[in-house]
Symmetry: C2
Subunit: 203 residues, 2 copies
């Protein structure tokens, strides 16, 4: 399928492999992120539209949840402790809210790649620039479908293949007017070493 | 002991219970954070002095470390993947880099307190304002001595008493010129329900 209309319009859209988009999402709208082929991560960030200094916060959200792994019913809080998004449906139940979007630095440091891709960070930076959001404002993303195994004793983190299969989805409800950044993730290990598209539906 | 000289001067200083300071730390200096009585957390944040949009990043640091729990030898990376601080000594080995500084919102949401203390977040915001750093720029802190138990299967987080005993310490080396924010943490559960001072030494 192709991109139907503008990135933020009502309907279903495709994000091609290793790319990203940004769009506005009105309060009350629902955003469903779909993994059309399986084992593909989508990095999600959200900013308050009328004040872009307010942004989703992993630290606030995890503290208030008392859990690392979020799913249906869980809110995503901002740095000002306001709920920006709420997860309302989730067919997978395993996502990551610890790690920053992959970037050229990620590929250089973790993959020893001398000519790295710009990653989700670069894709988000380009897409969000249209909304006046600079790269230093990009927070830890809610990494939909990303499967980070945590050893509670040693603290070791291991990036495993996503648990998502073709058609799995997570739906978010916007609790205020937002700017959303969303990618089809570019990190080899996060996506079981195959880059696939991400679909999203706005309704 | 009292406060000796200005907050950032060479020597030993005391941060009274439930308060915080901010100061500059030159490249090459060492900052030692000491728990003088035991079981007391200190929230630490660091900004690049000549460009305060560069700040420590839990997401980058944990991703590059591949571990939740950092100790001697581990660098603290910025949002731009630069090393700002490096842990060079650590007599405890258990700290937190997941959770945001406690705030009035924390106490309202987690402790149901209708008249909450401003917390480490408020203390840091006031201290950092002198350096032109606004509250929205305060990141997830490196929470020295904070002991967050993680269940790797369920993802459940539990704030336990610190493992630090009287005199335990962590030393950081500054890899660039920095602005540091540092507190004696204000959250009841993080400090085993007793608010104590924090000492720090600059050398």
């Amino acid at each position: 399928m192709g991109q139907h209309g503008q990135p933020g319009s009502v309907g279903r859209h495709e994000i091609p492999p290793r790319s990203g988009v940004a769009f506005t999402l009105d309060r009350g709208r629902r955003l469903t992120v779909i993994d059309p082929q399986g084992e593909q991560v989508a990095d999600l960030v959200a900013f308050r539209r009328d004040d872009i200094d307010e942004v989703i916060s992993s630290g606030r959200t995890l503290d208030y949840a008392g859990r690392l792994f979020l799913t249906a019913g869980d809110p995503l809080y901002s740095n000002r402790s306001t709920v920006l998004l709420r997860i309302v449906e989730d067919t997978v139940g395993r996502h990551d809210f610890l790690l920053t979007p992959c970037s050229a630095d990620t590929f250089r440091i973790l993959y020893d790649d001398p000519h790295p891709h710009r990653g989700c960070f670069g894709n988000l930076a380009e897409a969000l620039a249209a909304f006046g959001i600079g790269p230093d404002r990009i927070p830890v993303a809610f990494n939909v479908f990303m499967n980070v195994a945590v050893d509670g004793t040693t603290g070791t983190l291991r990036v495993d293949p996503p648990l998502s299969r073709a058609g799995d989805r997570v739906t978010f409800a916007a609790e205020t007017d937002l700017i959303i950044g969303l990618t089809a993730c570019s990190a080899p290990q996060s996506n079981n070493f195959a880059f696939k598209p991400i679909h999203y539906v706005i309704e």
